[in-house]
Structure formats: C-alpha cells, structure tokens
Symmetry: C2
Subunit: 246 residues, 2 copies
C-alpha cells in the first residue's frame, strides 16, 4: 500500500470479502495473497483499524473465528457488520422481524421478539433463497398495512472460490418490485453504517480511508460519507466487466 494514499489518515476501514479473502469451498475461503501481512502492517503502523463488512452468512463470532483460522489478526470488536446494526434498529423501532437469512445468522437475533412479524429482514441467505422462502417473506410484506423491508446490504453479487454468487441485493429488488416498496438498507453503502464504524474508531470521516473491492458499496458509500476510498483490484473487481451503477 503506497504511503501517499494514507497521508494524513488516522484510521483505515477494511472490507473483508474480496479484499482479505475469497469465501467458499471446504475451508470457508482462501486468503488473498499479501492480505494477512497488510493487516499486520496497518496495525503495526499505529493507524486505527476497523473491519467493515456486509457479510451476513454467519454470526460475527463465527465469522471472526473463521478469519482467525485463516491466519488474520482480527477480533470481534474490530468488526462492524449489518446484523448487530439491524438488531439495534429492530429494538429502537419495536419491529418484530420475519427472518429470511442464512441459518448461521439466526443466532444474532436470539433476543429479538419474532412473534407476529411486522417487518421482514433479508440477508445473504444463499440456498435459503428458495421460492417458498421468498414467497413467505412476500406474503408477510404484502399483507402489512405499512410494509417494512430491512435489507442487510444491497450487493449484486460476490466472488466465491468457485465463481460469482448472487447477493442479497438481487432478492431485495425482487421483493421491492413484487410489493411496490423500497427497502431500507442496513450495511454498506448506508451512511449510518459507516458512521457507526467511525464512532467505534473515534475518528472523523476526513481522517479515515475505506479500502474495498466494490465501487458502489465500498468506494461510493464511503465517499458519500466524507471519507476517502480506495478500490482494490481483487475480489469481484477482478471478474466483472461492466461498471456497476446503483
């Protein structure tokens, strides 16, 4: 990483998927060459570091354990992720969610009232995105007087070791269209999400740099928030052909 990029910065926000590692496969993923060393270097430099991810296929605990197993110097408190953020929102607004998420994420919602749902929370549910499950979520929304759809990110796709995979954003769009509503996005590129990461670090937007592989969710979102941003040429960047617009 060129020192010039970091000039004047007090802290770094690091995306994880496609920047530190590519997910998928038996071992849960493969580190991107040099990324483990880069994390160590940033920490050694005295810069503050927060990991800022839209990962919703596992609880933060489980996700961090996987990354530690892959050799990364990372702890749970250093990770800003959508599920804990949405739980705060659910409690504040007294919302009782119907969950359309990955099985491994459900534990994050253990202390949330899920009876008689008055909203839907959608995450990267992967194989849980069956027709039946999407239809169940649709039926709940279409029958609500004021349908609330909270989406853990709005990514189009991500790269796994065996190819590109549809992300939560595609299914968010399906429900938005079917119900004629707009989802509220929790996670990147939402301003509030970046701000909570900055609060964790105790720094201002102009003192921070976001590093990610997604031009919309990482770079665009951070810039909207007043931060500088760098797009790395790994992850989905290395595959996709067309510039993405949201």
């Amino acid at each position: 990483m060129a020192d010039a990029v970091l000039a004047g910065a007090e802290g770094v926000l690091l995306d994880i998927s496609g920047v530190l590692y590519d997910s998928g496969g038996d071992g849960g993923g493969v580190p991107i060459p040099g990324s483990r060393e880069a994390v160590k270097k940033i920490k050694a430099s005295g810069l503050k570091l927060q990991f800022c991810t839209n990962e919703t296929q596992a609880t933060r605990d489980k996700f961090v354990k996987k990354l530690q197993h892959l050799g990364f110097d990372i702890t749970v408190n250093e990770v800003t992720a959508p599920a804990p953020a949405v739980c705060r929102i659910l409690k504040e607004r007294k919302l009782r969610p119907h969950l359309l998420v990955h099985d491994d994420l459900i534990l994050e919602f253990a202390d949330i009232d899920k009876t008689n749902p008055n909203c839907v929370v959608i995450g990267d549910a992967a194989d849980n995105f069956s027709y039946k499950n999407l239809n169940d979520a649709f039926q709940i929304l279409i029958n609500l007087e004021n349908p609330v759809l909270l989406s853990l990110g709005r990514g189009r796709y991500y790269k796994e070791t065996d190819g590109l995979k549809l992300d939560v954003g595609a299914y968010m769009k399906a429900l938005e269209y079917a119900c004629d509503i707009q989802a509220e996005v929790v996670g990147k590129p939402a301003k509030m999400f970046f701000q909570s990461a900055l609060t964790e670090m105790g720094i201002e937007p102009h003192q921070a740099i976001m590093i990610g592989d997604d031009i919309v969710n990482d770079v665009g979102g951070a810039q909207q928030c007043g931060m500088r941003a760098v797009q790395v040429r790994t992850g989905k960047y290395s595959i996709h052909r067309r510039v993405l617009h949201v």
Copy 2:
C-alpha cells in the same frame, strides 16, 4: 357484462388467470363463478374471441386441456401465450436459450437449439426458482458480452387458491439488478404481444376490448396498444391493497 362496454367492438381478448379461474390446488384450479357462461355468451354473440395469457407454467396444449377439463369452451388456436411467441423470437434472432422455466413448459422449446447458450429465457418457474437455478442463469448472463434476458411476462404476483404467489417479474428484476441489464418482456404488457393476438383475430386495436384483472399488464398494456380495456374485480384485484405502478 354490460352491452354498453362492448358497443362497437368486433372482438374480445380475455385474460385467463384471475378472470376465468384461480390456479392452484389438486385439480389445477377453480373456475370463477359465471366465467364459463361468459365465454359461451361471447362466442354465441358472434364476437371474435382470443384468450391472451401470460401463463407459462405449462405448454399451451396442457394448459388448454386443463381449462377444457374445468368446463371451458377453449381450443389451442384461440390462445395467445408467451412461450410460442418467444420461440419465434429465438429463431429469428438465432438465440440459443438457457431456460429458467417451469418443468412443464420445457416441451415448448423442443425444437430450439439450447447448446452453448447466448441468452436466458425466464418464465414463471415457481419452485424451480431455487438459489442454484437463479445463480446459474445469473452466471450465464454476467459472462456474456451482450447479455440478453427474455422474460415471459413481468407480473409481480398472481392469486392461487391458497394465496398470492410471486410471479416471474420479481425474478426478472433480480437478474436485471444483478447484471445491470434490462430484460426484454415477451407477453403482456408488450405491444407486440397484443398485436399478435389481434392479428390472429383479424381486427384492429380500436375494434377490440381487453378484459383482465391486472391494471398494468392487461389494462395498461391494451390501452398502450390502442384498445379499450376493462378490469374485472376478481383474481388479484380482489386482494391487493395498493395501486400497482410499473
């Protein structure tokens, strides 16, 4: 049906799902009271009649047999449906489709070259809309230089006997968003689709009346085409709460 509505008309285009019957259940559906008699009455009156459906869960042959079994006076030639229309387009443009459709529709594509696909055709695939199947379609599209997505309709949802079901439009939107492309819609409300139904009947738009339960696909589409249109208060009309905009 009030005679005033039909004044000056030479022909009637009739939607099927939600107008003649509600699909679903063991018997394949339940006729809407009075609809069998209405079809007979239109035919007896000397008006031309063409059925104009976005139904893509079965071949036209199988679909018509089901309706005959339910007591409707209907033949294959009287039905304008998306699958035969898309087959004409595929041949004209030398497109080789990857199919994401209902199992019972596949026979319609028997004489279409499907090797080394250079486009995706999406229909109301219902339970075939698994994560894996949608991801397969996505991967084909994202790897094409010029991705072509042909969608058999753009409906949001339809009514079955046991409730509302997500229609092909929701999944079309998911793929459009993931790949940053626009689908080409074959079926209602596409102008070309209505025009081919009128050609079958040998009449002009101003001589025809479309009768359907969908404000966008039936009424809006027909009006765009220069026809008059009537929305019946059965099918999804009887359930949905919000006005639909496309």
